[in-house]
Amino acid sequence: MTFAPGDAVRVSTRPHDGHHRTPAYLKGRVGTIHRLHGGFRNPETRAYAGDGLPEQQLYLVRFGLDDGDCVLADVFEHWLERAT
């Protein structure tokens, strides 16, 4: 896996047609890796009768809100870029 807990990541803004599980409100946002869930089949091909392989690493990523609160969301590795 590419990222470790604490790493800063940005959610990709690349266009994508069709089913995917990366919510629009997080695209372009910078967060930090909170937890690694492990490998899961890719919903972007599974949704179209594909086998979803190869598996993609799935991370729980922390995005800050005001006042120290946060959103934790599951994002697949191929939607994450390293942020500095």
Partner: protein, 206 residues
């Protein structure tokens, strides 16, 4: 009762079937016809799903309140812990339990659709699937919590967990004060569905 009377009965179904229901029916027919699924499997799965209820999740939470070792196992691997108490959420989707503490409060949403730990809580409530909850939970969580009657101190960190992929989240609420003498069974009755979604906190009943 006899039907030898002169008035006409309205047909039982006068409301047209919603498009989604027609689509689901067509899909089911196709899947059965093509041998992908058997009708029995579909009915068994539906029966299993509607037989699940918040009482299942409550059993896990209550056990975690009286047994620290169990709580550690629940937080580390919710399925293994569930199997210990005779519940099997299955291998997929993966269930992850998140603990609410004095300083951290989790609440769960699925902004993309309505992902929910059905295997441990049963079907989700209507509001969980509604656009207002799904959009506001991630933009104004404290406002949403206040509307549910939960007013958290400023120094409690709110973590809104958006279940966007293969994980289903179960919140383990805090054990209420004043419940020291209660049995595990009595404690389970205090654990509400909403407290395991993280939009309520369990209360000790007098």
């Amino acid at each position: 009762m006899s039907h030898d009377h002169d008035h006409a009965h309205e047909p039982v179904t006068t409301v047209p079937e919603p498009p989604a229901a027609a689509r689901v029916r067509a899909l089911e027919e196709l899947l059965v016809e093509k041998g992908v699924l058997r009708r029995d499997d579909i009915h068994r799965r539906i029966d299993w799903l509607v037989s699940r209820s918040p009482a299942d999740g409550a059993k896990l939470v209550a056990r975690s309140w009286v047994d620290d070792e169990f709580r550690r196992r629940l937080l580390a691997d919710a399925r293994e812990a569930a199997l210990e108490v005779g519940l099997d959420p299955g291998p997929s989707p993966v269930v992850v339990a998140l603990e609410n503490t004095e300083s951290v409060h989790h609440m769960v949403v699925c902004t993309l659709c309505s992902c929910y730990p059905k295997a441990l809580l049963g079907p989700p409530p209507e509001w969980y699937k509604s656009l207002p909850y799904r959009s506001r939970a991630v933009s104004d969580p404290r406002g949403v919590l206040r509307e549910f009657g939960v007013d958290l101190e400023d120094d409690v960190e709110v973590r809104v967990v958006d279940s966007t992929a293969d994980i289903r989240y179960l919140v383990v609420p805090r054990r209420p004060d004043g419940t020291e003498s209660m049995s595990e069974h009595e404690l389970a009755a205090l654990v509400t569905r909403d407290s395991m979604i993280g939009v309520a906190v369990p209360n000790a009943r007098a």
